[in-house]
């Protein structure tokens, strides 16, 4: 099934989850690498890719949020304890918040920069700058915000992945499978 039901995630939610998961993990790796490579030529090109991919993530996040609001939210796996339900719901909300805040803070950092470097998204169109104050101080503020959010994302995602693995390997429940097979397909298989 394409849509979510009370029992589980539909195909669209699953595809969006994994597309964003790959993009976000790649984006973090790219962000860390691009500031550390010795080759400044490569570094410049990687930063341009980082800006484009970040905006793609923002666009997909908007789609994903709209889809989530337009669909029933699957009830948590029945086997989960109270604290596990609370913790996972909190982490998911924080992850959604980061998917919005990370690209916006990156966009703000680029917009506040006194260097005024344009962003040509995937070489296709010019991204306007956000209306933020252009100054050394403004740029420094948005840079530390972006870095801080990125490191918060690394911790949360690590926790999120470890939790998924715990369910798969230690608890052997269906939490990970829910995000792998659309809800209708699983039912059909069972019968």
């Amino acid at each position: 099934m394409l849509r979510n039901t009370k029992d589980g995630y539909g195909l669209v939610a699953i595809v969006l989850h994994w597309t964003l998961a790959v993009l976000v993990i790649g984006q973090i790796g790219l962000g860390l690498a691009m500031l550390r490579v010795a080759d400044k030529r490569l570094s410049f090109d990687l930063i341009q890719w980082h800006k484009s991919i970040g905006l793609l993530i923002l666009a997909l996040f908007v789609l994903r949020l709209a889809w989530r609001l337009a669909n029933p939210q699957p009830a948590p796996e029945a086997s989960l304890k109270r604290w596990e339900k609370t913790a996972s719901a909190a982490v998911h909300r924080l992850l959604y918040a980061l998917l919005l805040a990370l690209p916006l803070s990156g966009w703000a950092l680029v917009s506040a920069s006194v260097l005024g470097i344009p962003t040509l998204v995937f070489g296709l169109f010019l991204l306007p700058h956000l209306p933020v104050e252009v100054s050394e101080a403004g740029e420094a503020f948005w840079r530390s915000t972006h870095h801080l959010l990125a490191f918060a994302a690394i911790l949360l995602i690590a926790g999120h992945i470890l939790a998924a693995l715990r369910h798969r390997i230690l608890l052997r429940d269906h939490v990970l499978q829910r995000m792998l097979r659309p809800v209708g397909a699983r039912k059909r298989e069972r019968t």
């Binding site: 400044k40 570094s43 410049f44 090109d45 260097l115 005024g116 470097i117 344009p118 010019l126």
Partner: protein
């Protein structure tokens, strides 16, 4: 009083023809060396919808020989030291000096040697020559105008456009234009 006015009138008469007449290349025949005072080697790289990069080379050396009998046999040799590039923004300077652009760790000089001079007016000429940067040599043409001349000193105004991609400096195209606009004042004294 009358005497004073006569002196002033005489001065004006003397000054008038000097002011009306632009300096002529023919008068400026001689051997010159470039001097830092009065010189300004400025360039700019336009950006797509953003702020152009404007900078200059602070250190350079050069000679200009203009034979009295034939101006078209004039010769120009200029050496620019790219580690002296200055844009007023430290991060941009460091980027320009890095391997992304001038690679000053390995490349210490940019040189221009004229190969042909064509006179286009009393005070103007085009100078063709080979420009060498980062191990690449191409023919480039600059428009030159003798802007000031007198007492063994001359100032030449020089304009030209150079395609940076040919010299292995295509980083950031098309975000930043491939065309570098040079707008230079070369001050020289006989010597």
């Amino acid at each position: 009083m009358l005497q004073r006015m006569a002196i002033i009138a005489a001065f004006l008469l003397l000054a008038l023809p000097l002011r009306a007449q632009a300096p002529s290349l023919a008068d400026a025949a001689g051997r010159y060396v470039l001097t830092p005072q009065g010189s300004r080697l400025s360039f700019s790289v336009p950006a797509a919808g953003g702020r152009a990069i404007r900078g200059r080379f602070v250190r350079f050396a050069g000679r200009i020989d203009i034979p009295a009998d034939n101006i078209e046999r004039a010769r120009v040799i200029i050496t620019i030291f790219p580690e002296s590039v200055a844009t007023g923004e430290r991060r941009v300077d460091n980027f320009l000096k890095s391997n992304a652009v001038f690679d000053v760790a390995h490349e210490h000089e940019i040189t221009f040697r004229s190969t042909a001079v064509h006179r286009t007016g009393a005070a103007t000429a085009t100078v063709e020559g080979s420009l060498t940067a980062r191990g690449h040599t191409f023919r480039e043409t600059f428009r030159v105008r003798l802007a000031e001349f007198g007492r063994g000193r001359a100032r030449f105004h020089v304009e030209g456009r150079v395609l940076r991609s040919r010299y292995g400096m295509d980083v950031g195209t098309p975000l930043y234009s491939n065309v570098v606009d040079f707008d230079m004042d070369l001050a020289a004294r006989r010597g």
